[in-house]
């Protein structure tokens, strides 16, 4: 299992991944909005989306777990 963490404080602008999705390294999982910029958060490795810990509009802090991927 791999936790995908937020690289910075921000607001969840768009949730792209859904539980059960097979993703490849580099696929966009979540779009974070911070300081008027949309920042894509990508899958660090191939895997399957096991858990989603946030919803659109949520406020997150740097290091908060956004998505958990299983191998």
């Amino acid at each position: 299992m791999a936790d995908v963490k937020s690289p910075m404080a921000g607001t969840i602008f768009e949730l792209i991944a859904a539980v059960g999705d097979a993703v490849e390294e580099g696929d966009e999982l979540v779009i974070l909005e911070s300081m008027k910029m949309e920042i894509p958060v990508e899958a660090p490795s191939d895997g399957t989306v096991a858990e989603i810990h946030i919803a659109q509009g949520d406020q997150v802090q740097e290091g908060d777990v956004l998505v958990t991927l299983s191998e």
């Binding site: 690289p7 910075m8 607001t11 911070s34 008027k36 910029m37």
Partner: protein, 450 residues
């Protein structure tokens, strides 16, 4: 003159407008969101009203909340700063309907220039050269034929766009239809309209702009030019006045100033504006767009003219004619050289945002250095807003002296607690094209790759 001005903005520009109000004996009234309750712009104002939650849609761009605050605080005018509501014609009209003076141009001019394609057509009719492109917005069925006429490489641009959003570069015809679809969808999401037009892509252009003022009584003044070719993500990072581009010759300058002055007078434009142009390598200059507000980089113009542009804005909004404003001259008095660097809370390598708290923010104390800051040591830089923390501006008798002082200023500044772009600015300062004063909008591309 006004008694009490509501400043419908936040950060450094709100604090800066407050300072001029204080000097002129006008009370300033701030507005703030939950996230800004202890912000510098609130501390600097004479009074303040809380107007809503942190997201700008629920506070700073909520027309009713801002206007209710102005009425309740007994303000007789509103200064919109830049961004937020500053180019919103509905807001200007709403101010008018509630008997409050909007410090800026007429709503009709804001709307005219807000539609980039209409702005181009208007300026072309007033005698300004525009970048070759489609005559109007393009429809899907004939877009490819229009693109062939414009020629490749080209740019797809959103009619209501800005800040590089909804803009796509197309190098070859086979990329066109996909790029068009993508540009339309991002324009629709950001600006509520998927209207786009096409423009030929100029190769390695310089971004040159003119500071203009009109008084709505037929008078227009050009307060010199600025070069803003140091950009990242199509946003400016360093600006200087006068523009150092070597192919902006005296002859070209004179012709450009005449064209812009007659266009601004022809529009019967009122208050501050900026006419942005692109200068290509062959020395041809084209109208890009007009910003109907005070510009972020206005301090470089203030440093070389000795004028206070916010004071001019206030006086013109209060009905004073241009020719009677303090410091007015024809031509305006311009001496020396000024350079502004924007200090952003962002990673100096990736240039990605870095919100957080500022433990220390210190710059050298020098008579030739001006700091327009929105935050101070101990303040928070919130992820809800733009990453601009402060603008550091230096003045020199000539460009070499200004460059030397900028280096001293950046080397001697201390910012701790979050990531900031000073190391990136120092890399720009070391780049030979920047030192030579001959750099185009692609300068930072090379710095990021290396």
């Amino acid at each position: 003159m006004f008694q009490r001005v509501l400043i419908a903005n936040r950060g450094e520009i709100a604090a800066r407008v407050s300072r001029t109000c204080r000097r002129l004996g006008i009370e300033s009234h701030a507005v703030y969101s939950v996230a800004d309750a202890d912000a510098l712009h609130v501390r600097e104002a004479d009074g303040a009203t809380h107007i809503g939650a942190a997201p700008v849609a629920e506070s700073y761009i909520n027309v009713d909340a801002v206007l209710d605050a102005a009425v309740q605080a007994g303000c007789d005018a509103v200064h919109p700063g830049y961004g937020l509501l500053s180019e919103n014609g509905h807001f200007a009209q709403a101010c008018d309907e509630r008997g409050i003076t909007f410090i800026g141009p007429a709503a009709a001019h804001m709307e005219l220039m807000g539609n980039k394609n209409q702005a181009r057509a208007t300026m072309r009719d007033l005698g300004m050269p525009v970048i070759p492109g489609s005559a109007a917005t393009v429809a899907d069925d004939d877009a490819e034929a229009v693109a062939e006429e414009v020629g490749y490489p080209l740019l797809i641009k959103a009619s209501y766009g800005g800040g590089g959003i909804g803009m796509a570069t197309v190098k070859r015809p086979n990329q066109f239809s996909r790029s068009l679809r993508r540009a339309r969808s991002s324009a629709l999401r950001a600006f509520g309209s998927d209207e786009v037009y096409l423009e030929r892509l100029l190769v390695e252009p310089h971004h040159i702009e003119l500071q203009v003022f009109g008084d709505g009584q037929g008078n227009a003044a050009i307060l010199g030019d600025r070069e803003c070719s140091v950009q990242r993500r199509h946003q400016k990072v360093i600006e200087e006045a006068p523009a150092p581009a070597p192919h902006l010759t005296d002859e070209l300058r004179e012709r450009l100033y005449d064209q812009v002055r007659s266009a601004v007078a022809g529009l019967n434009y009122q208050n501050a504006g900026t006419v942005e142009c692109l200068l290509d390598a062959s020395g041809e200059i084209f109208f890009l767009e007009m910003n109907t507000r005070l510009q972020v980089e206005h301090p470089v113009t203030e440093m070389v003219t000795g004028l206070d542009l916010v004071e001019w804005q206030l006086r013109i909004a209060a009905g004073e004619p241009l020719t009677e404003l303090p410091g007015y001259g024809d031509p305006p008095p311009i001496s020396g050289h000024a350079i502004e660097t924007r200090i952003y809370a962002e990673d100096p390598e990736t240039l990605l945002p870095s919100p957080g708290s500022i433990d220390v923010l210190e710059v050298p104390d020098e008579p030739w250095l001006r700091l327009d800051a929105g935050v101070a040591s101990g303040d928070e830089v919130s992820h809800f807003y733009d990453p601009l923390m402060a603008k550091l501006i230096v003045y020199g008798a000539d460009r070499p002296e200004a460059l030397e002082r900028l280096r001293i200023a950046l080397d001697g500044s201390r910012i701790e607690g979050l990531k900031h772009n000073i190391p990136f600015l120092q890399r720009v300062l070391d780049a030979q094209p920047f030192i030579d004063g001959n750099y185009d909008v692609t300068l930072t591309d090379g710095l990021l790759k290396s």
